[in-house]
């Protein structure tokens, strides 16, 4: 919720990682937008086995719920010494949904070293309302994540997060397979909520990131409160009284019949 992404290091078994590059070379099959997972990825296919790995399946169900549809999928390739990086961007177009989000799965079949230029991810950027690569001017932000990871790593990201493929300064072709999932059910309490009232939850939701400006960082928390209210179905949830304070209008209450 606060970071906008979940990282699962090395969870894909080595034999699948070895298989992946040949699957990618053949080209993953075309999938029409909005196809249910079982139809998009037939039983036994590489993609189906990937999304059915217990750690991946569990995380996806917690985030987008049961029976998501596949928005699209694509194999991203960064050629060796290609000389440039992608501009920092959010995928698709500016997205105003207050009560739904898509999840993007990024799978790295190879070990990604710093020299290979793994994906740049900006933690906590997913609620910013910016359009695609309008953020391209921002080369570096404090606290950014320059992904390096073992083979078989999967990262699940909120659709709005600022990211970009970094320049590949190595001699190795870098592959990343991306699948975007759309929810088909309300994303309310889809995960294990046994610890919903634990202090650590509130602490995480109230965290700042090193690149946040002092004032705007407070608005980030306010917007997280609003999203958390939607995801938990708890309209009274608050952190440090941020949302409650500015909704207190005694005069408006008195004038109601």
């Amino acid at each position: 919720m606060a970071h906008g992404f979940l990282r699962l290091d090395g969870i894909v078994p080595p034999e699948m990682n070895e298989e992946a590059l040949a699957v990618f070379a053949a080209g993953p099959p075309s999938v029409p937008y909005g196809t249910p997972v079982p139809k998009a990825f037939p039983e036994g296919s590489f993609a189906r086995r990937l999304v059915e790995l217990p750690a991946v399946a569990g995380a996806l169900e917690s985030l987008v719920g049961p029976d998501p549809t596949v928005d699209h999928h694509f194999v991203h390739i960064r050629e060796p010494r290609e000389g440039s990086a992608q501009p920092l961007h959010g995928d698709a177009v500016i997205d105003l949904r207050p009560d739904a989000f898509d999840v993007q799965l990024m799978y790295y079949p190879q070990e990604v070293t710093a020299e290979m230029g793994g994906t740049l991810i900006v933690p906590g950027s997913h609620l910013r309302r910016t359009n695609e690569s309008d953020t391209g001017r921002y080369q570096n932000l404090r606290g950014q994540t320059r992904l390096t990871c073992p083979a078989g790593t999967v990262v699940l990201l909120h659709h709005g997060i600022w990211h970009g493929g970094r320049r590949n300064d190595s001699d190795i072709v870098r592959h990343m397979y991306k699948i975007r999932f759309n929810p088909t059910v309300p994303q309310v309490r889809l995960w294990d909520t046994a610890d919903l009232d634990a202090p650590a939850v509130r602490e995480e939701l109230g965290r700042g990131f090193p690149w946040y400006e002092q004032a705007t960082g407070r608005l980030e928390i306010l917007n997280r409160i609003r999203l958390w209210r939607a995801l938990t179905g708890d309209p009274a949830f608050d952190i440090e009284y941020w949302a409650t304070r500015i909704a207190n209008r005694p005069a408006a209450r008195r004038s109601q019949p």
Binding site: A85, L88, N140, L141, R142, R167, E213
Partner: protein
């Protein structure tokens, strides 16, 4: 022999914590008109300066600062671009 008098611009963009030039750097970008370096997205984790003033002290000249613009009515709580953007330059002889 004619000496070239061409000067080229190096640009440093700093994003600061508040609208004050002496506040902390939270983001940065560089562009090099000499072609000697090719800065790009995600090429460093540590900012070149801790504050905007530290860049001045190192010889960078400020030529543009973001204006303070009130939020549009109804959008007071929206977050979008970084607000406190400062453009600096150095003019480098050569060519």
């Amino acid at each position: 022999m004619t000496m070239s008098t061409t000067v080229r611009q190096q640009v440093l963009v700093l994003y600061l914590d508040t609208s004050a030039l002496d506040s902390r750097v939270v983001g940065w970008a560089r562009y090099d008109g000499t072609g000697a370096t090719r800065p790009t997205t995600g090429d460093s984790d540590e900012p070149p300066y801790e504050t905007g003033v530290a860049a001045l002290e190192d010889g960078w000249r400020l030529f543009q600062a973001a204006q303070l613009v009130p939020p549009y009515p109804g959008m007071e709580h929206e977050t979008s671009f970084l607000k406190h953007e400062f453009f600096f330059e150095k003019l480098v002889s050569g060519g």
